[in-house]
């Protein structure tokens, strides 16, 4: 099984021009260490909302591809997001769920996907037409070209990576500047 940081690397090296909204905690830190750039929006709080922020952004900016990098625990916290994504399904939006079956920023307590919950089936049940699974970096790189939802199974655990050396306002300002939005 691939590590989460390998999955993140596959996403950033494939979708070089995409705007990326990333779930808080270690996923953000891994993204920051793999490829920091102004078009990354690093979440520092509001767990569960990466998919919603990404969808709002994609609807506001149909000219740009938007990817939300989310986790299984965070999606379970905001399941209604799957129904909202299904209802609007913008072509420029992709939700990537990096599913490691655990809350690994808080000590790897198991989530429901480590037992019987299947988030790909839930996404289909919500009405999302394009739902793919990816179990290695090559499959993930191919799936990134599409829209809808990708569920990538990854190993539980975190890479040893530094904290993000940016303030919330720096994250926001450079992100908006890269989109030429007056802040």
């Amino acid at each position: 099984m691939m590590k989460r940081i390998e999955a993140i690397d596959a996403v950033t090296s494939t979708a070089r021009d995409a705007l990326i909204v990333c779930n808080l905690g270690f996923p953000c830190r891994e993204l920051y260490s793999v490829m920091d750039r102004p078009g990354n929006f690093y979440m520092l709080g509001s767990m569960g909302l990466a998919s919603s922020i990404g969808l709002g952004l994609a609807l506001a900016r149909p000219d740009r591809k938007v990817i939300s990098l989310d986790g299984d625990g965070a999606v379970l916290m905001n399941l209604g997001t799957l129904a909202t994504i299904a209802s609007f399904a913008p072509d420029n939006y992709l939700l990537v769920i990096l599913d490691n079956g655990a809350y690994c920023s808080t000590g790897c307590q198991p989530t429901a996907t480590s037992r019987s919950t299947d988030l790909a089936e839930m996404a289909r049940g919500a009405g999302i037409r394009e739902v793919r699974a990816a179990s290695n970096p090559e499959e993930l790189a191919e799936a990134i070209m599409g829209k809808g939802v990708v569920v990538a199974k990854v190993e539980a655990g975190n890479a040893e990576v530094p904290v993000i050396d940016l303030s919330p306002e720096q994250i926001r300002d450079r992100f908006m500047k890269s989109l030429a939005v007056p802040g």
């Binding site: 520092l44 922020i53 306002e169 926001r172 989109l179």
Partner: protein
């Protein structure tokens, strides 16, 4: 069409709001249908208010002027997102809140959150306006958005039962 719904709609247009997410309230019924039929405004119903705060934050980052329409019961569902997303990153938001559980309410379950709405907003440091009549609402939306924009924070407009009964 009631004067109150028409006034809020015209206020939102004056404030140049172009992205709206909502969780319905019966008092927002007419307003929501006006917004839905306006092709210059992106309308995204949310399943829960917290999700709506996320949608609006993303839309703002992309250059939109967002508003969330909700009942005050949804304020409780929004607090962590308001604090650890909007306050943290200084993201403005116009919150149009139908204030239930106040004078004239006939559903007892609305009363606890009705009484807590102003104290919660005050504790959160979210400034709020309460237009008393439709004519005031026409201006309150732009005033609230301009305040939100200049302070980089959410600002609320409370519309209580007497406002909607105003006509």
């Amino acid at each position: 069409m009631t004067k109150s719904s028409a006034a809020v709609y015209s206020g939102l247009k004056r404030a140049k709001i172009d992205f709206v997410t909502s969780v319905p309230c019966v008092n927002l019924k007419e307003l929501l249908s006006l917004l839905e039929s306006d092709h210059d405004i992106t309308c995204i119903p949310a399943t829960r208010e917290e999700e709506g705060i996320g949608l609006c934050a993303g839309a703002y980052l992309g250059g939109k002027r967002p508003a969330i329409l909700m009942q005050n019961s949804g304020l409780g569902n929004s607090i962590n997102a308001l604090a650890s997303l909007d306050f943290l990153y200084r993201i403005p938001l116009l919150m149009i809140i139908s204030h239930r559980g106040v004078e004239g309410e006939n559903i007892v379950a609305q009363v606890p959150m009705g009484q807590l709405t102003e104290p919660l907003l005050n504790t959160l440091g979210i400034r709020w306006l309460r237009p008393g009549a439709p004519e005031e609402a026409k201006w309150a939306m732009a005033e609230a958005w301009n305040l939100a924009r200049s302070e980089g924070r959410p600002v609320a407009v409370l519309l209580d039962i007497s406002f909607w009964r105003g006509a």
